[in-house]
Structures are given as C-alpha cells and as structure tokens.
Amino acid sequence: MTAVRPARSARRIAGIGAGTLRHVVLLAGAGLMIAPFLYMIAISFTPNSYVLTTPPQFIPENPTLDNYAQALDAQDIPRYFLNSLLVAVVSTVLSVLLSSMMAYAFARFRFPGREVIFRILLVGLMIPAVMLLIPQFVLAKHLGLLDSLGGLVVFYVAGSLALNTFLLRGFLEQTPAELDEAMQMDGANAWTRYWRLALPLAKPGLATATIFTFLACWDEFAWALTIINDPDSRTLPVAIRLLAGQGNNAVQWGVVFAASVMAVVPVIVVFLVFQRYFVQGLVSGAVKG
C-alpha cells in the first residue's frame, strides 16, 4: 500500500510512479462518487420527453429551466422549503439549548441521581429511532401533535437530545473549571456562568451539534411521512417523495430532480463552509450521517 511516503531518494522514481497510480485510483473513485450527482443535475435541466432516452444525455441537448419553473410554481416547493427550514431551525435551537443545559449540569455539578440520569440518557442513545415510530405515533396522537409542524419539532428535539448532551458534555468538561469557580467567587449565579462562560468556551462543540442537528432535521423522512397528511405541513423530503410517486413511467424525473437539487444545495453549502466541525463531530464519535 502506498500510504507511507516513499520519500527516500533511492526509491524516488518508484515513489513518483506509485504517487501517480494512487492519484489515478483516487480520482476514479471520486468520479464514481459524484457521477450520480452530475447526472441528477443534468436531468434537472432536461425536457421531460428526453429523460430516460437511449443513449442517455449527460449534457442536455435542449437544456430547459421548465423543471425548475414547475417545481417552484406548480409544485409549491418554496412552501415546503420554508416548512423544512422553520422546523429545522426551531428544532436545532431548542435541542442545542436544552442539551447544553443538561451537559452543563453533568460537567460542572455533582448531585444525587447524576449517574442514574446519565445512564437513562445512554439507553435512549442505544435505541434505534425507527423502533419508537409506533409508540411515538400513539403518543403524538394523544397529545394532538399529528399533522402539525409542532409535532415534528417536539420529536426532532427529543430525538437529538441524548446525542447532543453527550457531545457537549465532552466539550464542556475540557474547559477549565477554574474560570467557573472564579466567576462564582465574584457572585455570578449558575445561569450567568453557563450563558456567559460555558457556552462561549464550548463554541466548537455548539457548532458541531448545531450542524448535525440541523442536517438531521432537514433530511428527516420517516417521522414526517408518518404524522403529516395535511399538504400545507409537508416538509421537503415528503414533498419530493410524493413528486416521485410509485411507478416509474409517469414520473416527471426532471421536476423531481429540480426539487432535489434545491433541497441538496443548501446542505452542500453548509457542509463546505463548516467542514472542520463535521470532522470534529465524526471523530468525537457516535455520529453517523
């Protein structure tokens, strides 16, 4: 394997050969990774009558914006976009706020029940979310949360609490306790110390938690599919799925992919801008995209 830098002069030539081969393999692999995306973008600009023709058109011969126009106008995608944005923003703010408060309690206090409460959160982390779909649906029904964006928010926050608490507790424990104690000497109460000291110190952790929670909410499908019937409350993933229907022949793939591009671009922008927090979140464990 070429993972070791073959820098020694005797092997310089072999090293250059291996380096080239390495890049060829890596670029070919990367090509396979993004080819489906490029094809999706091409289809989103292809008139519907040319989709699924043979040979396929990788660069549309008669490019059109019709698919985007239709997605924006007839298919009401802007409304679903706003629904998704609203749900994701509110859920993320609430989740990060509540879990950072819990994380602060775990990181800076000793109190009776600390271990038990922590273990209970841990159990919540190990139970797959989809397993809870049925009882959560029954609960949401009793609480009158079906068919509402509020019902999405409540359960998105609940679903992300445990993970964010673990992540943020790790970050908060790494910040020096001395500062917290010094502020306490000066008479600052716990809320002030949490808000003015702990949170600013844990900024990288907050950024990581925010990004992962936002993306998870933005992409969430199973729960929204289950509780949302009202067309006005659909989120983007549910709306896009409805565009694609069930069979293959009647589907207007150009419109589906125009809407998909609109759903995916914000995610890719967020990812590119905040890349280092992604890596941080992954490395601190237990986060799977």
């Binding site: 390495r22 993004i34 509540l98 139970i127 009882p135 306790a177 293959n248 998909s260 992954l282 799977k288």
Partner: protein, 316 residues
C-alpha cells in the same frame, strides 16, 4: 438560593464512583436539577415512555381506533413472528443487506483512507468528493438510484452497451436484483463515512514504529498488518458496530426504491414493520417486530464490542 442538607451531600458522595478531580465537590443544590429539568422531562415523556410502551404494546392486540379495547395476548405476537414466513423473508433481506454492504464499506473506506492519508495537493478536494454522498439526504439519493436502476436507466444502458449484460435487467422488479441495487446505494452512500473515521484513526498510527519496520525490511503489506491495523483497531470496532446498527435500520432506501415490492419480496424488517403498523394498523404485532429488532441490535453491538476488546487484550 441553594437548599442543602448534610445527608444529601453524603448520598451524592456515595453515588459518585470515582470523583474526577476537575469537578470540585459542591454542596448539593437544586441548581443542577433546574438545568436538567426541561430537557430531561421532554426526554422521559417522548423517548423513555415510548420505549416502555413499545414493549407493552407488543403484548397486546393493540387497537388505535376509537374506543375499541386492546386484548392482552402475552407473547403471542412474538410467537406469531417466529412462525411468520414474511417476517423471515424480511429478516433474510436485512441479513443480505448487512452482508452485502458492510464488508465493502470497511474495505473500500479503509483503502481510500490509506490512499488519502499521504500528502497530496488535491487531498482536501478528494475528501469532500468522497464525503458528499454522506451528507446528502437519503430521500434524494434513494430516488436518484431508483432512477439509475430503472428498466431504461443508466445502469442498464451502461451494462448493455459494454456487453456485460443484455441491458434488460429489471433490477427493481425482482427480489435479489432489487436487494443488490439497494445495497449498491448503501455502499455508495456509506464509504465516505467509514473513510472519514479511518482517516482520523490513521493519524494515531505511530510513525517511529512505521519507520523502524521499514528499516527492518518489512514490505507495505507487512507494515499494514503489523503496525497500521493494530493501531486502528478501536476505529475498526466502532465502524463495524455502527454499520451493523445502520444496516438493521435500513428503511428509507427500500421504501423509496422498491417500496418493498414486488409483492413484498424486497421487504426488510423495518419496511415490513411500517406496513404492518401504518398500513394494516397491526400496532401490537408491529411493536413486537420493533422490539425483536432492537434486541438483535443491542446483543450484536455488545458482542462485537466484546470481541474486539478481547482480541485487543486490553480492557477499555
């Protein structure tokens, strides 16, 4: 502001196993409970209670509609699952997905990580390209793959025009080809994630050891076996466990690519559970399947962690 008693303080000391030096011992007060309260109450109501209720529902013929009373069945729902042919078919498909997606994700993810580990001017770009499928919504990529594997889709065109197949495979119209297409999506979407974990783990490979092995004449494969692999064992365990959990949770890609069809032949455990509950309103039986699934996942994860720990010879 703080309410404290000596007794509570003693209880706190007894409950805390090994007090960490960084946390200064305080008199117990209501303050930490106030910080925990809103989040923990929400968690208990919306996560802990449903866990308990899932188990409870699985023991009943659960009625969701109107005032119909639910009949207690004991373990009948579980017995029903064991004798249910479609449960085993879904189980088999889940197992197929597990076997078809996990080894490629580990091997290819590690291979790419090893290739990317060495310095390269285009390394940041490559890392982003490999990671893009990971951050993209499951709904979008599932529909995209349904399109690629359509009868007149790109995959058939590519296979047909290179002469590998007749180009007329009805991928999503048959059990095994359908599972293969679904697995292809799983691998494509997951490689970037395992790569990223391995890439981070490779930072921890001791460089002096690597150089010593090189001086001693170890070839690349020997260095990989003797130095790299032991150093990334923890990451390997983590990736494997997470991928197993992920494989048992496969749902969106199946739901959107084949819908479990044709005639339920590509159902996995979760699509079957979903249809039972929200299609046939069999909430009790659906819950039993969810509980079985959860138990399998928990047992497998614990077993794997133990296995990796034993081989390591170090208690972690």
């Amino acid at each position: 502001m703080s309410i404290s008693t000596l007794a509570a303080g003693a209880a706190a000391d007894a409950a805390a196993p090994a007090p960490r030096p960084r946390i200064r011992r305080r008199r117990p007060s209501v303050t930490p409970y106030l910080f925990l309260f809103p989040g923990f109450v929400l968690f208990v109501v919306t996560v802990v209670y449903p866990i308990v209720q899932a188990v409870q529902m699985s023991l009943y013929d659960w009625r969701i509609i109107g005032s119909a009373t639910s009949e207690f069945l004991g373990l009948d729902n579980y017995a029903r699952a064991l004798g249910d042919e479609h449960f085993w078919l879904s189980f088999g498909n889940t197992a197929f997905y597990l076997v078809a997606t996990i080894p490629p994700q580990i091997v290819l993810g590690l291979l790419i990580a090893l290739l990317l580990h060495a310095r390269s001017p285009i390394r940041p770009l490559l890392r982003v390209l490999y990671y893009l499928p990971v951050v993209t919504s499951w709904v979008v990529v599932s529909l995209l793959f349904r399109f690629l594997f359509a009868d007149q889709g790109l995959i058939n065109w590519a296979l047909g025009s290179t002469g590998l197949t007749g180009g007329d495979t009805s991928w999503l119209g048959d059990r095994w080809t359908g599972m293969l297409a679904i697995s292809a999506l799983g691998v494509w979407k997951g490689i970037g994630w395992s790569m990223m974990i391995f890439l981070a783990a490779l930072q921890g490979v001791p460089q002096p050891l690597m150089e010593a092995a090189t001086v001693d004449g170890a070839n690349a494969w020997q260095r990989f076996r003797a130095v790299t692999l032991p150093a990334i064992r923890a990451a390997m365990a983590f990736v494997t466990v997470m991928l197993v959990i992920g494989a048992f949770n496969v749902f969106i890609s199946v739901y959107l690519m084949t819908g479990g069809g044709p005639a339920g032949r590509t159902d996995v455990l979760l699509t079957y559970m979903y249809r039972l509950a929200f299609g046939d309103l069999e909430f009790g039986y659906g819950s039993a399947i969810a509980v079985i699934l959860t138990l399998i996942v928990l047992v497998l994860s614990l077993a794997q962690l133990r296995l990796f720990r034993d081989r390591d010879g170090v208690a972690r």
